[in-house]
């Protein structure tokens, strides 16, 4: 069961419409290293984890990623809501607009829709936790590229928060991997 709290994990504000930046940021909604993939990856990997500790971390980080999806959607929503069709065309977002108007959809920066092939659930806890650590680093790198592309201090502030969370998640997954190795070697001894 999940409940919904009607507040963002971090407040979102944008200085002005910027459909070009929306086109880039949407990759963190439905792209290969985006928040949908992150959330789905962790929430589905937890079923085959052998320890309560790993199940807890995957449940909690998978849940936080849902909040990040909402933050990314709020950014995109506010960056395009007041853009004119002319601005949308100039930003190269006209293909997206043709299919979705200004609705929020799961695509990468080039418009390719999300696929479950972005994620893996291997059943091997060591393999899965390594994938999770790599996923956090790839998301961190993506947020850094997005920060490089933006000139809006309000947008950059939100992207920095999301980048920082990837660093924390990487840390927690690393600790979970250490605890998993400990658990597995202990289990082999007895």
């Amino acid at each position: 069961m999940w409940i919904y709290e009607r507040k963002l994990e971090y407040p979102v504000r944008v200085s002005r419409p910027d459909p070009r930046m929306a086109k880039n940021i949407i990759t963190q909604y439905g792209g290969p290293d985006g928040e949908l993939g992150a959330s789905m990856r962790y929430l589905t990997q937890r079923y085959s984890m052998p320890t309560s500790q790993a199940k807890a971390v995957l449940t909690d980080i998978g849940t936080e990623e849902q909040a990040h999806m909402e933050i990314v959607a709020a950014l995109v929503f506010n960056l395009i809501k007041d853009a004119t069709p002319e601005e949308i065309k100039r930003a190269g977002l006209d293909g997206y607009y043709s299919d979705h108007d200004k609705a929020i959809y799961f695509v990468n920066a080039a418009g390719v829709p999300w696929t479950a092939a972005y994620i893996q659930s291997k059943g091997d806890p060591v393999a899965d936790l390594h994938e999770d650590m790599a996923a956090e680093e790839k998301a961190r790198a993506t947020y850094e590229y997005l920060i490089n592309l933006s000139d809006d201090p309000d947008v950059i502030d939100v992207l920095r928060f999301l980048r920082e969370r990837e660093v924390v998640h990487f840390q927690r997954f690393g600790e979970t991997l250490d605890l998993m190795h400990e658990y597995l070697s202990h289990r082999r001894q007895f």
Partner: protein, 88 residues
């Protein structure tokens, strides 16, 4: 949303983010008593602030985790992605 509501929402966001981060930390450091004490203290503070916010502005959580005055105060604007800063 007026300035007073926005500021109390911001305060709730800060408290609840503290809890998210401490929760993840405790998942890998279950024996850290200082972190656990901070988690429990902040959780009580969060519950009190949330109740105070909800009495003034309506429920923050669905499915029975918050009470509502009449009429039903959940299905009202603004939703989190529609909140504009600096209004009012």
């Amino acid at each position: 949303m007026d300035r007073a509501q926005f500021n109390s929402l911001l305060n709730l966001q800060a408290l609840s983010f503290t809890l998210v981060d401490l929760n993840l930390y405790l998942d890998t450091h279950p024996w850290d008593q200082r972190a656990l004490a901070e988690y429990n203290t902040t959780a009580l503070q969060y519950q009190a602030c949330r109740q105070q916010y909800e009495r003034a502005y309506g429920p923050l959580v669905n499915y029975g985790y918050s009470l509502s005055q009449a009429p039903w105060r959940w299905a009202v604007d603004p939703w989190p992605w529609e909140i504009c800063w600096g209004e009012g």
